[in-house]
Symmetry: C2
Subunit: 257 residues, 2 copies
């Protein structure tokens, strides 16, 4: 039995501690074996998946709420989260979740509270796949795991739109700032980096052109090893040069269309 | 005496019609006489300026709320609004606004309602300066007018941060999609377009390089007139080619750093 996490405290009589009508949802991307992954949680009583989310305490900022939720689901301490869109359609009520509270006294704070339309602030994160320990809350959700972005199941509410929008923002960002720092554990080859870009963009890139552009940015340090042992012509390993990567983040880069 | 607009209905006992804790704020940019302008409203009882904002009715989406607020302040029917960031710091309470309700019975819905921390969803719009009729609500705010972005007064709460963030988003967008369609009334010269880009970017651009890049995009139609009457060497007038502009918006363009 998984111990219930603080993120579902509102299920008790603690609803007053949370801002009504407001949620945060987090689209978490990882990269593994040449595929872009997304972290999803499974809702126990209804057999449906969603991105990890939670509510906002009255004593915490939006950013802190998103960080708290994501720490609980990933067990990561260091997280770079970016807010990308707030979802506020009138249709954002989840009748299925409401039904889960039908058994509670109608006057209970949690029952009333959850029967409202919710505005959800969407965040996305790029994380190192290998460092995440996907963790369900054990009450509302009984499973949390990575899915291939392309073959994920249909998601609850407007969560498919959330994932697509986050991906769209990531695609635009690719053009004017570096990515990859949080997606690769330590070192990587240029073909691996290219594969990341291709996966996000959803199309193939010219190898020579890509490698030239990447090397011209000056954010990569070649380390004196090749992937594989003793294999000739194996690609070189690279590592991001942190100060230059940071500089490129601040000043922007241009990778063209 | 200006007639109070619907956007301040909550001042009456209509607070229940609005989503608690939630506001929308709109950063409206215009372009006039070579300067980027921002639309601001003046708070009558406290001599401070802010960007136009309002609350979200329970029966409207976030986007609809922002559109409603902006229609009231600009008298424009057609508006292109873009959500850019949601502001959710713990410090987002406005004690000055709270004081304005001190005279009301403490139990009045409006008085209770407005004493909460607010999350604000920020939108920005690029509008044709010449078509806007700045309009204050006449109760909370007694003036609404354009300010030069550079010489605007200090704003309420975190509204300076809002303006700067909206400008930052606009700067990034400049690199990968066309702007200007909503900022110029009909036709314009290339130097005028360049001035717009320079104003948003906050730096000068090389004239020949800029003109070449712009013309290469294929989104401009030269019309057979020059600015001025009978003056030789006056610059040509251009107009956006709408289908190609639309295509460039969809597919993205690259203007480099």
């Amino acid at each position: 039995m998984v111990k219930p996490s603080r993120s579902i405290e509102f299920l008790g009589e603690d609803a007053q501690a949370y801002v009504p009508h407001l949620a945060v949802d987090c689209v978490v991307f990882g990269f593994h074996a040449g595929e872009l992954k997304v972290l999803l949680t499974h809702w126990a009583n209804r057999d449906r998946w969603s991105v990890p989310g939670g509510f906002v305490r009255r004593d915490e900022s939006l950013d802190d709420a998103a960080t708290r939720v994501l720490r609980l689901r990933t067990q990561l301490d260091q997280l770079y989260l970016e807010q990308f869109h707030t979802f506020g359609a009138l249709s954002r009520r989840d009748e299925q979740i409401e039904h889960m509270f039908d058994a509670r006294p109608a006057e209970s704070a949690a029952a009333t509270w959850v029967r409202e339309r919710f505005i959800s602030v969407g965040y996305f994160a790029l994380v190192d796949f290998s460092e995440v320990t996907p963790t369900a809350d054990g009450v509302l959700t009984d499973e949390c795991r990575w899915w291939d972005l392309k073959s994920r199941p249909p998601l609850l509410l407007d969560h498919d739109e959330m994932v697509e929008r986050a991906l769209g923002v990531l695609r635009v960002q690719l053009r004017h700032r570096p990515i990859g720092l949080n997606l690769f554990p330590d070192s990587f080859t240029l073909p691996e980096l290219q594969r990341l870009y291709e996966t996000v963009l959803g199309r193939t890139l010219d190898r020579r052109n890509f490698q030239k552009k990447m090397l011209d940015l000056g954010i990569l340090d070649r380390i004196g090893e090749r992937r594989g042992n003793g294999v000739r012509r194996a690609p070189y390993l690279y590592r991001f040069n942190l100060p230059k990567y940071e500089e490129a983040l601040q000043e922007g880069i241009s990778l063209g269309k």
